[in-house]
Amino acid sequence: MAIQINKEKNEICILLNKDFYNIEEIKSTLKDFKEVCKGEVKEKKENQIKIILKPNENSVINSLGHEFCNYSLGLMKNHSVV
């Protein structure tokens, strides 16, 4: 699963493939989401990027990970421009 939600820790863990998601775009997504959550981005060896998000409010925990990925994908599209 690319998105894992840990409600006890109030934490979302996202694993994204480096071939499809650029780390710079993920960082700027995190910057744009700073009012909703705190987080960190780690580059993993297995061609993956690990993102850990800690939402400021519990109510958004189910959708935040998905919205984060959607936003990153939108930035990737703008990056490639077709």
């Binding site: 690319a2 493939n17 499809f20 998601y21 959607n70 990737m76 490639s80 077709v82």
Partner: protein, 150 residues
Amino acid sequence: MDKNIKINEDENCILISVNPEIYPLDVIYSAAYVFLEKAYLLLEGDPKKEIIIKLTAKERINKEELKKIGKEFLNELISYGFYKKQSEKNNLIRQIILQRVLLTGAGENNDDCNSLMEETEEEDYLDDPKGIAIPWEEKYGDKKNGNSDK
């Protein structure tokens, strides 16, 4: 029939498998962008062999509707794929037109443009070389008494 579409009704999602040789990554990004409002999208797989797009509907929908979204996505892929092919085909002619436009602006007509600008800069707004400015008193004033205060 739809071997590249797999529906998972329990997870409210659909997995679409795409061949990157037919649909390049930038075409997939563009098609995905259209669906960002309707669904949550994730890209997985191998960018050289097989790209898997996971579309999770934002609202709970049935199997048929999920299938419909999947097919709409495939349509978008074709649409953007065609757009990309056309824009690549027209790339050279677009460049030529743009070059021509820019050169026209910077070339022979530029002298005319500069002289016009110089003329305009030299003129004062109070000048009336064609004699079209008429004083208010002359046009609307009391012509009998020559009184302009009325």
